[in-house]
């Protein structure tokens, strides 16, 4: 089975710019580990391109970055990429959806239609940011821990870890970071630990907990 990652991302608003910047680390890790990578990004982050790459290249791991709802995930300019009616296109894959709420309806539909496991969030995914650093997300210390914790799910899947362990790793890191920040005197940590707490509370999965690549 070829190790192929398909990752979606765009830069049409602030939240997506942050997801775009921090997902570069996932692409680097995948390529260093010898994975083939399909980038579905910016203007090509649309449903037709996603469908084409899924059917031709058959990735085993799909990593979505974008806005979401209970039943859908969105790409460039918030155009829908996949929803609960078209979830069968994710059959045979492990999915990590860094999108709000998609775990609820889309995740369940995807697994029902053959997705091995769907990791995602059952509520809003919050990204804190410092106004002056919005154009340089990688320098933003309020966002960095939040997105690095979230990245741990993807990094562990790429290393061959199970779905259950990958989520556990992210939640463990979130816990350690939150506890340090609760007693920190750094005022910006208040924004970070709130986002970490929210995102960790809503991180979960549907499907096979032992699924791995």
């Amino acid at each position: 089975m070829e190790q192929r990652l398909l990752l979606t991302r765009s830069r049409h608003d602030i939240a997506n710019q942050y997801l775009y910047a921090y997902s570069e680390e996932i692409l680097d890790d995948a390529q260093k580990a010898g994975w083939k990578v399909d980038r579905v990004e910016d203007g090509k982050c649309v449903e037709t391109e996603l469908d084409s790459r899924l059917s031709k290249n058959k990735p085993v791991f799909v990593f979505f970055n974008g806005h979401g709802s209970n039943v859908s995930i969105h790409g460039n300019n918030n155009e829908k990429l996949v929803d609960d009616k078209s979830a069968s296109k994710l059959a045979g894959t492990i999915v990590f959806a860094r999108s709000c709420a998609a775990l609820n309806g889309l995740g369940k539909a995807a697994v029902k239609d053959g997705c091995r496991a769907f990791i995602g969030y059952s509520g809003s995914f919050i990204v804190p940011h410092i106004n002056e650093l919005e154009s340089t997300p990688l320098r933003d210390q309020t966002a960095k821990p939040v997105l690095e914790v979230s990245n741990l799910v993807g990094k562990h899947i790429l290393k061959g870890d199970t779905v259950q362990n990958s989520i556990g790793a992210a939640q463990s890191k979130a816990s350690d970071t939150i506890l340090k920040m609760l007693v920190s005197s750094e005022p910006y940590d208040g924004a970070t630990f709130r986002a970490l707490y929210q995102n960790s509370a809503f991180l979960g999965f549907v499907g096979d907990p032992n699924a791995k690549i």
Binding site: D13, I14, A15, Y18, H67, G68, S69, H74, N78, S99, C100, A101, L103, G107, K108, S122, S124, F125, I126, V127, P128, H129, I130, N131, E132, E134, T142, V163, Q164, I167, G168, A169, A170, Q171, S172, K173, A174, S175, I178, L179, L182, P187, Y188, G190, A191, R194, A195, Y197, Q198, S200, A201, L203, G204, F205, V206, P209
Partner: protein, 76 residues
Amino acid sequence: MDESYLKKLVVARLKTIPPNVGFSVGSHGDFSRDQIIKNVMDNTAIGKEFSQLELRMLIDTPKLVGRLSGTKASSY
């Protein structure tokens, strides 16, 4: 504890965050700290979401270590 007291509590906690911090909340959009506080006072959907977050954190903090220690992932 009545609703107005809880709002004051939530707002007091949110005011400890520096004013130049914003929050991207999915497709709801981007909000400054002060916009979040206004949403809390106006009881909007975003305001309720942040109020619930603050109150959950207050209630859960003593249990935080165990729940977020990564021993078992939440599955549906």
